[in-house]
Structures are given as C-alpha cells and as structure tokens.
C-alpha cells in the first residue's frame, strides 16, 4: 500500500517533495492557493549555490559550508547545513537534466557567478529569473506525475488548520476552496507545510501576496514550535512601491554593480570603503546596516530621502543583458528609467525569514506527522541567509523529507477515527460563520497596513527593546481591533475579504513570536541588530529561540546550537575571511 501525503504549498520545496514522493509511487495531494506555477519561488532572481568548482578556484562543499555557517553568524545547527552543501552540486545537476536553461560557459558547461558573502563563483543561474526557471522545471515534473495519476492538485485551495488525533499527531488538514468557499477535511499519513515566508506580516516586502504566513501560524497555534522568528532578513536593495518593495537582486552587485551616495558633492562608494575585503559583496545584513547608517545617521540619502544609488551604468550593457536582463527590466518597467544609463534608486526591504517552524534533521516538526520545508522552517540559515542559498535549502529540504515521510507513513498502523475530522471541520465552519457576521468599523486591509508599518519600523533593521515592547502592545491592541472589523463583502462565492480577515488574525498571532523573540535576544547577531547590545554574545545567546503558542501569548524556551563541526569565531567582512579564521593546530 502506498502512503498518502498532503503537501501544502507548491513552490520549490513543496514541488520537490511532491516529485520525490510520487517517484516512489506514493500518493500526494498538493494544495496551493495559486496555481503552483505562480508560487513565490518565481521571484528568486539570482541563482542557486553549489560548490561545483568549474572556475579553478579550489571551491568545495566544505568551503560553501563554512561560508554559510559564518554568514549565518553561528546560529544554525551545523550537521544539516553541511549535508545541504554536500548535496548542492547534485541538486544543480538534477535541474540541469530537467531542462533548466542555466547560463553556459563557452565550453558549454554551467556558468557560475559570485554572490554576497563568498569569494567563489558558486552560483548557477538562468539569466536573472533563476527561481522562475527552477520552479517551472519542477512544475513540469510534477505535472508528469499528475498526468500519471500519482499527484492530485488542489489549486485555489487554502489550508485552514491541522487535524490532530487524541495524542496530538497530525492526521491531515482542513482546507477551503477559495472559489466556492467549500470546506473539506483531508486525511493523510503525513502532512508537509511548504508555504514560504511571512512577508505580509511586514505589510510591504519583497514577498508575494500569498506569503501571509497564515498556514504556518495555524500550525504554531496547533502546537508546532516556531523557532528563531526574530531573524528577519532585510534585503539591502529594493525598489520602494505602493503595493510592494520590488527586489533588485544581489546578482547586480555580483556582476559588478556598485552602491553609493553623494558625500561632499562626490560619489562615495561607502561599502567599498567600509569593507575593503568584500566591497559591494558583503552579506545582506552588513550592506543593509551600512545603507541605514549613511541615510539616517549621516543624512546622505538621495535628496534627503531614504534612498541610495545602485549603479551598473559603468558596465557593458550587452553583458548585463545576457546575465541580468530580467532584473534590469523590472527596474525599467516599474521606475520608468533605464538602469543601464541611470543609477537605480534603492533602499532595504524585508525579504526573508531565517526563522520558521522548528524541524528536526529529517524536516519533521515537533508535531508527529507534520513536516516542513523551505522558507517556512528555520533550519539552514542561522542568523542571516547567504544569497542563493534559499533555492538550495528548498530543494534540499524537500529531498530529505521524502524518505522520512514515507518512513513515518509506514510506521503508522492505526487509522484515525473519522470524528476528529468532523470536529475540526465543524470548528472551522463556526469560525467562518463568526467572520461573516462581523460588522464593526474597522477595515481589515487598513488594519493590515498598520500592522505592516509598525513591524517594518520596529522589527526589521535596527531594534530597540522599548520599541519592541511597544510593538507587542500594539499587536495585542490590533487583536482587539480585529474583533471590530466590518466585512464589506458578505458574498458566499470567491469572497477574498473573508479569507483575508482570517489570514490577518494568523499574521497577528505570528507577529508576536517574531517581535518578542527579538525583545528577548539581547545581543547583535546576523540580521538581528540591537545598538544597545552591539556585540554577539555566544555565552548567553548562542541558542535557538523556541516559541510555543498559548492563549496568553508565546512561551519561550531555548535550545543549544550544534556547533560541533566549525568552531565559532568572530564574523568580519572588512578583512579576508581566511584572516579571521583560527590558525589550524
């Protein structure tokens, strides 16, 4: 008997798991709010890392491993990161075999570019739309299994909650058809969450509109531990928009782009001056804080606004078109200026959550039968993610979950009683009935904007304890105001507002472990920066934050970090990394 599995989310991680499970003859129900081909993975621009060493630079998976751990400021458990870096070359080769149109060298081999936080050409890329290309390759493979009857897709369906048995084990999910608003319970031997990041908790970010974090929040509220939520990556270079902040990929700097602002009426290439060893290719947290400093402390933003230049106008336009046309087109389309001629205006924006559902080394959460992969889990990036490691971690997480999910399905002997499904379905129906009756003065979308504004202001680049505390107070107040929302749309068909009201509640719940996790961590590490505690404090904080939901707010405990493979050392980018490495005994 094949096992029966649910995967929630059809981006890179979810599609990988679906493909791997189907290849083993397992049955998969794949749930996605949007058609899987429109998942947020399409937004990844720059590439995917793997130490294939085709440039004669002596690169190796061990150096990739060290760059990742060092870039993550020694907060990631080291064994799974090592396994990921070792698996990376084979992952890139698999995509190559699946037909991804990676850029090539003159000899016809895969080409690699440089990315932040490394000295090696380690990033395979397909123009500047690598995430889109990788997603499409997986989408095609999963479609092949769909045609063969092994994968059933539920596109346009949103997961609402987990179905758990008496012992708390996950036995399936309740989901809603976003068109008919029909709710159904779906049993499964295992369930995987692969729903990406919580960008919408920060209002506008570089993430897509489906990235509410709602499914993850539902799992957290059902007992799944949320880990390292305070580690939010702010990407240094994004366009500022009314609807979202559009990413300008790190590949722009990888191909020679320079960041500057005017100082004494002359261009000042501040990253190159502050960090001579890595220059414009310092990791994202470092670049973000440098931009913040020149804009807010030194008041050197363009025309006094929070903007600096990202410049490629000195580079060969044809070379740019071959390698990063997709990125430049986005700027051209949304700013109406040609970045090949005029420097781009950019500012940092919330981009990625290093934190997420706690998982073990086999991608299983603390809820038995519930797995997670991709951005929605916490495992691979420590306190700061290196560029082009996210696509890799999605694929790797999906890969290694497959045998664990099959193993779990085989070990589960007894069938779940049908009453647990009926009960959960009833609960969800009641909660929607309540939302349909809401007729207060608040507008859900306006409330969401307030949430995003305060989270962006206080819980991103620079963190102060008084402002974090104030933010948490506001979150509690927002939860009260949520109860006073008035529904403008009472329709029972394709009602996006009623779905959003529920997502907003889940965002509010998830915002608390993010904010309070930051409040608790009195140090600066990776993306988490507190001016009052400017140094990393390994003695007190080299540990994973673990948040458990309770009706009184998150309860915290901490887990030690496995640093058994690389000894922690200070993280510096003003000097060569080798110079900061301890001397071998």
């Amino acid at each position: 008997m094949p096992g029966h599995h649910i995967i929630v989310g059809g981006g890179l991680a979810g599609l990988t798991a679906a493909m791997k499970l189907a290849e083993q003859g397992e049955e998969v129900d794949l749930f996605s709010i949007v058609p899987v081909k429109r998942s947020h993975s399409v937004c990844a621009q720059g590439g995917i890392n793997g130490a294939v060493n085709t440039k004669g630079e002596g690169d190796s998976p061990m150096i990739h491993f060290d760059d990742t751990i060092y870039g993550g400021d020694f907060l990631a458990h080291q064994p799974p990161v090592k396994a990921m870096c070792e698996a990376a070359p084979a992952i890139i080769y698999l995509f190559d075999r699946m037909g991804v149109m990676f850029n090539r060298t003159p000899e016809g081999l895969l080409d690699f570019r440089r990315f932040g936080g490394t000295k090696h050409h380690r990033t395979a890329f397909a123009g500047a739309t690598t995430g889109q290309q990788l997603l499409y390759a997986l989408d095609e493979q999963v479609r092949r299994y769909e045609a063969a009857g092994l994968v059933r897709k539920f596109e346009g369906w949103e997961m609402l909650s987990l179905v758990q048995d008496e012992s708390g084990d996950c036995r399936g999910i309740v989901a809603i058809d976003t068109r008919s608003l029909e709710m159904r319970a779906f049993p499964a031997d295992t369930t995987m969450i692969a729903t990406g990041g919580p960008g919408l908790v920060f209002g506008r970010s570089t993430q897509s509109l489906v990235n509410t974090g709602s499914a993850v929040s539902a799992c957290y509220q059902a007992g799944a531990t949320y880990a390292n939520g305070e580690f939010i990556q702010v990407h240094p270079t994004a366009m500022q928009g009314e609807d979202k902040f559009r990413l300008i990929s790190e590949s722009i700097r990888g191909e020679g782009g320079r960041v500057w602002c005017y100082r004494d009426s002359k261009p000042w290439y501040f990253l190159e001056e502050m960090y001579p060893a890595y220059g414009n290719l310092v990791p994202r947290d470092i670049a973000t804080r440098a931009i913040h400093k020149v804009v807010f402390d030194m008041k050197l933003g363009i025309d006094g606004q929070p903007l600096v230049y990202l410049d490629v106008s000195h580079l060969d336009p044809e070379e740019l078109n071959r390698k990063v046309a997709g990125v430049l087109e986005i700027y051209e389309k949304f700013a109406g200026q040609d970045p090949r001629k005029v420097p781009m205006k950019i500012f940092p924006a919330m981009h990625y959550s290093m934190g997420g559902l706690w998982v073990d080394y086999h991608q299983q959460t603390n809820v038995p039968g519930l797995f997670a992969a991709g951005e929605c889990e916490f495992q691979y990036h420590g306190a700061n993610r290196l560029g082009a490691n996210s696509l890799l971690s999605c694929m790797h997480g999906g890969n290694i979950a497959e045998p664990a999910m099959i193993g779990y399905a085989k070990s589960k002997k007894s069938a779940a009683s049908s009453t647990i499904f009926d009960q959960e379905l009833k609960l969800q129906r009641e909660s929607f009935d309540k939302i349909f009756k809401m007729n207060g003065p608040e507008n859900a979308f306006a409330l969401w904007r307030e949430l995003g504004d305060i989270m962006t202001e206080n819980v991103t680049v620079v963190r102060h304890n008084d402002k974090l505390k104030l933010t948490d107070d506001r979150l509690i107040e927002f939860k009260e105001r949520w109860g006073k929302i008035g529904l403008n749309d009472k329709g029972k068909w394709a009602n996006q507002e009623v779905l959003f009201v529920r997502q907003l509640w889940n965002m509010l719940e998830l915002a608390r472990p993010i904010t309070l996790g930051a409040l608790n961590r009195n140090e600066s590490r990776g993306a988490h920066f507190k001016p009052d505690f400017p140094e990393r404090d390994d003695a007190n904080f080299m540990k994973t934050t673990m948040a458990a939901w309770s009706s009184d707010g998150p309860r915290f405990c901490w887990e030690p970090v496995d640093v058994s493979l690389i000894k922690p050392r200070p993280r510096r980018y003003d000097v060569e990394k080798s110079a900061s490495e301890p001397k071998a005994a």
Binding site: G108, D243, F445
Partner: protein, 249 residues
C-alpha cells in the same frame, strides 16, 4: 480628496453565471501607483464614485513583479499584467476588465486551468530517468541556451490567448503559449528524444494547425517571446512528422 485623482471603471461580475456590470472608483493619484496598488486602495475603502459602499473588487495577483502571470487583465482594451501598468502612464479614466477568453470566477479573477491542461496534453516536460544523482545534463552551447531562455520565461499568463482570434467559443485551439513550450523542449538534448509525443499533441484537435497566423500573440506577449518563430518551427516539425508517419505505415 487631493486635487489629482484617478478614475477606475471596473467590470464586475459576482458569479460565473451572473450578468456583468461596471462600477467607477475615484482614488487619489500617486505617481508610483499601478493598477494593483489602486485595487488595494479600493479594498481599504470600497466606496464607488457615487458614494455607494460595495464589496471590494476581487482580483488575482501574486508576485507584483510581472513574473508570476497572475494579474493579467484587460486595461483600456489591451491585455497585460495590472502590476506593471503604472498610473503615471495613464491618461484620464481607465477601464479595467477581466480577460474574455477564460471563464470569469468573480470580477477580474478568471480561470486559466485550460492552459495548464494544454501543457499536460502536450507532455511539456523533460522525461528524466529519475531524480537520483546521474551527474550533469548534456552540454549546451551558450547561443542555444540564450535562444531557448527566451521561451523558458513564459509565465502562462494568457495574454497570447486573449489576443488570438482563433481562440474563441467555437474553437479548441490551445493557443501560442503551449506551442512555445513544445518548441522549448525540443531545444534540449533530452527533450528532443520524445519530441514525437509532443508533436502528436500538436497534430491533434486544437493543435498548431489551428493557428490563423494573425500574429497578435507575439505583439501582446509581455515577455516578448518569439512565439511566431515557435509556431512556424513546430508547424514544420508536424508536417515532417505527418509525411514520415505516412511512409512508415
């Protein structure tokens, strides 16, 4: 209201079978607004120009960077993504309508599942032996990659179907997008090996022969994919296969 405003005239439809109607909204003009950010503005205050409080406009959108294809709609009579239609490029009131070649779910949200069905029918995938480690894929000249990459950016948005006169209620034509994908697969060494399967689909009902050569697809494609090149090439491949099948029988 500030001095400058933008008027949106939106075609609405409550259910797939109900009658469509238009509603007008007036929102403050902001230079960096686009159609989606204006629809978001309406969600925060869903009141028509006439002062009537209504249900917020339902729309399909996701990445807002013109790479996911979701927010495709008809803006002032032209099909495109709403996210990349900047307010500053609009002159006067703008009419926003759902695409007409797909069933409306509600308001601006349409059901494009027939495009994904076409990809299934056309076997638009590389039939790899397995996902286990078999080393790198075939080598490829940079020139081949650069050409194929143009087709690999198709985001199944549906602009080419919307603009095509051959895609209509009386025809089964699958449209240009899937033909572009069949052509893309034939650029890859492994993909070539089962080209015949895909050509069979292209020779069946709704296949490449239904193209009427209007060439609207290539005009409206937001990614400037050379779709007519693909249609020409796949057309020739099917003719050759047809002859070959004739003599092999």
């Amino acid at each position: 209201m500030p001095e400058k405003t933008q008027v949106l005239r939106i075609k609405r439809q409550e259910t797939p079978n109900s009658e469509p109607y238009y509603e007008e909204f007036e929102i403050p003009f902001l230079g960096n607004h686009n159609i989606i950010s204006m629809l978001m503005e309406i969600r925060r205050n869903p009141v028509t120009r006439q002062g009537k409080r209504v249900a917020p406009v339902v729309f399909d959108a996701n990445c807002l960077e013109e790479v996911c294809g979701s927010c495709t709609m008809v803006i002032n009579g032209r099909v495109r993504q709403g996210c990349s239609q900047l307010a500053e490029d609009l002159n006067g009131p703008v009419t926003v309508e759902p695409m007409t070649k797909f069933p409306v779910i509600r308001d601006l949200w349409v059901d494009r599942s027939k495009m994904f069905d076409a990809l299934k029918k056309a076997h638009a995938w590389i039939p790899i032996d397995g996902t286990y480690d078999l080393g790198p894929g075939p080598r490829m000249a940079p020139s081949v990659q650069e050409f194929a990459y143009l087709f690999s950016r198709c985001m199944t948005c549906g602009c080419c179907l919307e603009a095509c006169p051959q895609v209509n209620a009386h025809s089964k034509f699958m449209g240009a997008a899937v033909i572009g994908q069949v052509y893309l697969m034939s650029q890859h060494q492994t993909g070539k090996m089962n080209l015949d399967e895909r050509l069979d689909a292209m020779m069946s009902e709704g296949g490449v022969a239904d193209c009427g050569n209007a060439q609207n697809c290539v005009e409206v494609c937001p990614k400037e994919i050379p779709l007519t090149t693909a249609i020409g090439a796949v057309g020739r491949q099917t003719s050759i296969k047809w002859l070959r099948d004739l003599f092999m029988k």
